[in-house]
């Protein structure tokens, strides 16, 4: 604190202590930065409450707009209106815009969340009754009509069919897909660039066209019957570019320094790939594969064309028609019988549970180990589901970006 020296004073440089006013009110504690104050929070909550009241008045008393959807829309509109008024009272146009944008963006995200929850809850609610019977998980549908009660018949044959088909598809696509990714990112060259271009182009292949391809070649031209093997091949044709591309994205995230260190220490290229690159990328590769499996197991259209529809246990994939979960859902839900439709929804809940389990596994596998990283262990390239999706994982993925997002 600087005090202007008094003119004409002889005592230059005396220190003036500030005087404290003992009667002054205690200082207000400063609220933390960036947090809304109690005032603002009150206005925010009050806005939503008054919007609720206005909407109730509008839809239930004034206008002939019955039903929950109209009420929600009116609530949103009234809240925006009240927000405009309240923020206009305290600030200018800039503040009004800011508040309205915040409300609109939050509601948009809420709508998306509600959609996801509604889909899961809806499927589970429609299908919970068959799920209560144990035979639903251990029986097949042989001799069970669409009108039969829930204590007869089950979807074990569809589950087994799905698992067999996905196992065959994985056995084909995994070595080929990861091998191609290794070739594209580790060997390189002009030929690798051609392969990459073609693989990227083929990720655009709609799944129904993959199914139609196998149907035309394998079933019509070569004369094999519809079977689980054909379905597995169709899923494989669909998944191969997806897995190859996802694995390629993951391998590109491996830091080049690790490769160079290994080569500089005298390891051969093969040893570098086997002992350095692949172990580093293991969590990412696992995620990519699990997500490929989740995609393959839920895909209906290739199976619809190639596998046929069996109502009984089929364990030999080359031996005629075979059922699978998505196909069972699709064919049963169209039957029109309430019991059959409930069975379809129950099967859909099972499918959803399978995908959910795969998803959580992928998350756990891909989770970066923080404690290890801090001690200087190698960072594991974690992969988002959607970024393991080759259609999304466009271009170079920056490793720094990954770690920041997943931590």
């Amino acid at each position: 604190m600087t005090v202007a020296p008094e003119t004409g004073s002889t005592t230059v440089g005396t220190t003036h202590l500030p005087r404290y006013d003992d009667d002054a009110p205690p200082p207000v504690p400063r609220s933390s930065l960036g947090r809304p104050t109690a005032d603002e929070r009150f206005v925010q909550i009050g806005t939503w409450v008054s919007g609720f009241g206005l909407a109730w008045l509008l839809t239930q008393r004034l206008l002939p707009l019955g039903g929950l959807p109209w009420f929600l829309v009116a609530w949103f509109a009234c809240t925006l209106l009240v927000t405009t008024v309240t923020s206009g009272m305290s600030g200018g146009l800039v503040e009004v815009r800011d508040r309205i944008a915040a409300n609109v963006i939050t509601v948009g995200a809420l709508v998306v969340g509600a959609v996801l929850v509604s889909a899961i809850v809806f499927v589970a609610l429609r299908g919970w009754r068959p799920l209560m019977h144990l035979n639903f998980f251990v029986d097949d549908m042989a001799g069970v009509g669409p009108k039969d009660p829930f204590d007869r018949g089950g979807i074990a044959h569809a589950v087994i069919g799905s698992l067999l088909q996905i196992a065959i598809a994985i056995a084909i696509t995994l070595p080929l897909g990861i091998g191609t990714a290794v070739f594209m990112s580790e060997v390189g060259g002009r030929f690798a660039r051609i392969v990459r271009t073609v693989v990227e182009a083929m990720t655009a292949l709609p799944s129904i066209v993959a199914g139609l391809f196998i149907y035309t070649v394998f079933i019509v031209a070569l004369g094999y019957p519809r079977s689980g093997l054909a379905a597995a091949l169709a899923i494989g044709v669909m998944m191969l570019p997806i897995i190859a591309r996802a694995a390629d994205v993951v391998l590109r995230v491996v830091p080049g320094g690790l490769r160079e260190a290994s080569l500089a220490l005298g390891a051969s290229r093969w040893k570098t790939v086997w002992h350095v690159v692949l172990p580093t990328a293991r969590p990412g590769l696992a995620t990519a594969c699990i997500l490929g499996i989740a995609r393959g197991i839920g895909e209906t259209s290739p199976v619809l064309l190639t596998s046929g529809n069996a109502q009984f246990f089929v364990t030999n994939p080359t031996d005629g028609v075979m059922n699978s979960l998505p196909l069972f859902i699709y064919s049963t839900v169209r039957s029109g019988e309430p019991n059959a439709i409930a069975r379809a929804y129950a099967a859909a809940s099972v499918l959803l549970a399978v995908v959910l389990i795969l998803f959580v596994t992928a998350r756990l596998v891909a989770r970066p180990k923080r404690a290890k990283n801090r001690r200087g262990g190698r960072p594991s390239p974690a992969v988002d589901v959607v970024h393991a999706d080759p259609l999304v994982g466009m271009g170079q993925v920056q490793p720094s970006d990954r770690t920041e997002e997943n931590s």
Partner: protein, 336 residues
């Protein structure tokens, strides 16, 4: 005592070790076998594309350009065309995108700018989970939960915005008992289900690009007194423009090829139709799924031609999207 290495004067002819990039031993095996795998995959994936084109060729030559302009699909009468399905494919995809685009943009903005820091990782995995939900589940959701409400909304649209040609329905809007069946199973209903399928994808791309916005520029905007929305509008949105466009087009690419949800919801109709609220439409993928069973050889090749057209459209859309997304990322180094 240090011993110096003896210089052998006889061996003056020391040549530097030959350096070659050619792989030897196990490396040669590795390089060649991985090249073999790559070639196999090239043959498989490229084979599918070439096979489709090769099968489509006779059909396109036989029907000529009429294949794209003919509405009906009557192989018995040798009249086959995909005009109706092509228009239907695009109308379903456009409905889907007009729903998915605003929602995914808002969700991406919420996750990257508004969500509390602790919630962020959770919300990101929720969007990812949404992407992993099988399409048949979205089909069931659209068919069972949304379609009745969508039909009612379609009626309201017709009553209030019926003068716009797109919202016209061939039914009396003021009937005492409205004919609900005229408003269901439409491109609009299918579009809602498809929107939920493509939403997480475009949302993920947008969020990814938003999260790469240089923090220096964001903080500069805030320090100059911008509100949060002002910061978003002046920094985040311009920076992420490429991601917004590219993500939307990627979603479009998937919406075009979606089969099972559409097949579950629509009732097939073979006419070029702009009235998206009215019952009956068709898409190329639904056409294939519905017609492959009783197909003869020529019909099968016509279906393959339709599939080839769909593949080419998807490929073009995806390629443009990839170019746009990549170009937007190249600006990521403008950090302050």
């Amino acid at each position: 005592m240090t011993t110096l290495p003896l210089q052998d004067d006889a061996a003056t002819d020391v040549r530097p070790r030959k350096i070659s990039r050619k792989a030897t031993g196990a490396d040669a095996v590795f390089v060649h076998s991985s090249r073999l795998v790559g070639a196999t995959v090239l043959v498989i994936t490229g084979g599918v594309g070439i096979f489709l084109g090769w099968q489509a060729f006779p059909t396109l030559r036989h029907y000529g350009f009429a294949f794209f302009t003919e509405e009906s699909w009557q192989p018995e009468a040798d009249v086959v065309g995909i005009a109706a399905a092509l228009v239907g494919t695009f109308s379903v995809a456009l409905v889907a995108m007009s729903i998915a685009f605003p929602l995914s943009l808002l969700t991406a903005l919420y996750i990257s700018e508004y969500a509390p820091a602790k919630m962020k990782a959770f919300l990101v995995s929720m969007v990812d989970l949404m992407a992993a939900v099988p399409s048949i589940i979205w089909g069931l959701w659209g068919f069972g939960l949304i379609m009745p409400h969508a039909a009612r909304f379609a009626l309201w649209l017709q009553q209030n915005l019926g003068w716009i040609p797109v919202f016209q329905v061939d039914a009396d809007p003021d009937a005492a008992v409205w004919d609900a069946s005229r408003y269901t199973a439409s491109a609009f209903c299918a579009g809602i289900a498809v929107a939920m399928m493509v939403l997480p994808m475009s949302c993920a791309v947008m969020r990814q690009v938003f999260s790469q916005t240089p923090p220096g520029e964001k903080e500069a905007a805030l320090a100059l007194g911008a509100t949060r929305w002002g910061m978003i509008r002046s920094v985040v949105l311009p920076f992420g423009r490429g991601g917004i466009i590219g993500g939307t087009m990627l979603g479009m690419g998937r919406a075009l090829g979606e089969t099972i949800a559409v097949l579950l919801i629509i009732s097939p109709a073979f006419e070029v139709k702009g009235r998206i609220l009215e019952i009956g439409t068709n898409t190329i993928s639904a056409l294939i799924a519905g017609r492959f069973g009783d197909a003869s050889a020529t019909q099968l090749s016509a279906l393959l031609a339709a599939g080839f057209v769909l593949f080419i459209i998807t490929l073009i859309v995806n390629t443009i999207a990839a170019v746009i997304v990549n170009r937007s990322r190249s600006g990521a180094e403008t950090d302050a």
